[in-house]
């Protein structure tokens, strides 16, 4: 953990919350200073916070329901044994950075246990030549992508990458779970690609406000992008929006959800953008808990079940 990676994933209001709660004096306008001050007086707390956001932050995310996943591998132990064999590792691999030689094809860097499954972090890199001061240097543009496999019925694979990119990682998992060199042919149904009706239900259940709607136009207009002003928590409450835009096909919606943790007292506004053609992105920095809270509702709407979250 250092200030660069911390700042990248942890939102400012989370730092603010703890600094205020712990009565630490700091410059609340400077996130690096806030990080430094919190780390100095509450090292463990700072680390715990970082752990919650480490693989999350302002991330794109796609969750797929997997059909025809090899049943014998729908089990934590057997899956792990298989992966160890595949990677040729006999010792324990959980939580140990494997640090493979970085190639353009993503490789497994890290496997960690999560509820019902594993978090697998992939590393890949593209060599680039860049200007460094007065000279040109070669460096590796490194990319870390987190995927999570959750066993059960159904099986879910979550890819923390853009919608198009997520196929790359699903394909790598198809190779990973195969016994031979051929990829296993399983089907993926994106849970994060929702219909307008589902999006509406999700928004209702989360009490979400529509911050921005992007609509397909006609008669010479390509698209409309309508965003709420700061006095409008939900565009759908606005008569002008209802009359002029709501009937037009959505291309994307940006929603805002008020989120509050009962135990810590931390509250924040969680923003996310659903692209109606697939693709889901958080527009604010989020923790694992927040991701779970939001996606329990997605699953609830898709499968008409009660959410298990808070």
């Amino acid at each position: 953990m250092n200030k660069v990676v911390f700042k990248k994933v942890v939102p400012k209001d989370r730092l603010e919350h703890h600094i205020t709660k712990e009565n630490i004096s700091s410059n609340m306008n400077n996130i690096e200073q806030m990080y430094k001050d919190l780390l100095e007086s509450k090292k463990e707390l700072t680390e715990t916070i970082y752990e919650e956001y480490k693989y999350a932050g302002k991330t794109s995310l796609n969750i797929f329901e997997i059909i025809d996943f090899p049943q014998k591998m729908n089990n934590k132990k057997r899956f792990l044994d298989h992966v160890k064999k595949k990677l040729g590792i006999n010792t324990s691999i959980l939580g140990v950075p494997l640090m493979p030689k970085i190639t353009e094809t993503p490789q497994i860097n890290f496997i960690e246990e999560v509820a019902n499954g594993y978090r697998i972090q992939w590393i890949s890199g593209t060599p680039v030549e860049a200007v460094n001061g007065y000279e040109v240097i070669s460096r590796i543009d490194t990319k870390l992508v987190t995927t999570i496999i959750r066993f059960g019925s159904p099986i879910f694979i979550e890819v923390r990458a853009g919608y198009k990119n997520s196929s790359t990682y699903i394909n790598l998992i198809k190779f990973l779970v195969s016994d031979d060199g051929n990829p296993v042919n399983f089907e993926k149904i994106p849970l994060t690609k929702v219909t307008e009706k589902e999006a509406e239900e999700i928004a209702t259940k989360l009490k979400a406000g529509l911050l921005e709607g992007e609509h397909l136009g006609s008669n010479g207009i390509g698209r409309y992008a309508v965003s709420a002003d700061r006095d409008t928590p939900d565009l759908r409450e606005l008569s002008e929006y209802k009359e002029r835009y709501m009937g037009k096909q959505y291309l994307a919606q940006t929603l805002n959800v008020f989120y509050e943790e009962k135990d810590s007292g931390y509250s924040t506004n969680v923003k996310f953008r659903i692209n109606m053609n697939g693709g889901f992105e958080f527009k604010s920095k989020v923790s694992e808990k927040i991701i779970k809270r939001i996606f329990d509702v997605f699953a609830e709407v898709r499968y008409k079940k009660q959410a298990s979250g808070e």
Partner: protein, 131 residues
């Protein structure tokens, strides 16, 4: 009365109509269009003038735009210094340092003015009924 080449009487009429329609967060561009004025800068100056002092009928805010998507975002009072640190766009989460050149002025009616205009409207309609 024309003042700096704009018809302030007509602008005042437009403002009253906007107040009756409960218009919020308008700007000079919009007011200029409705009152057939072409000098938007002058209309803006006039609106700023109406947002000053004890008897102001308008309140003016500097509205910043985010860098990534031009989303109208945070509000600041005129005369306040804009933050020299990053703030987060409330729509897209873009982290940007507000810039006065990438901001504009928006106006709201003061409560007193809105109420006075509506009261006047009500009195007028009552008088019409009486006639």
């Amino acid at each position: 009365m024309t003042w700096m080449g704009i018809n302030t009487v007509r602008i005042d009429e437009v403002l009253e109509l906007l107040a009756i329609a409960n218009e919020k967060r308008f700007n000079a561009y919009q007011v200029a269009l409705l009152s057939n004025e072409s000098d938007i800068e002058a209309v803006n100056d006039y609106l700023i003038y109406k947002a000053q002092g004890r008897f102001a009928s308008l309140s003016a805010k500097i509205e910043t735009l985010c860098e990534a998507n031009n989303h109208p975002d945070e509000h600041f009072d005129i005369g306040d210094q804009l933050p020299n640190y990053e703030i987060e766009c409330r729509i897209c989460g873009d982290e940007y340092v507000p810039d006065i050149d990438n901001s504009h002025l928006v106006f709201y009616f003061t409560n007193e003015f809105s109420e006075a205009v509506k009261k006047k409207q009500l009195t007028l309609s009552k008088q019409m009924v009486a006639i």
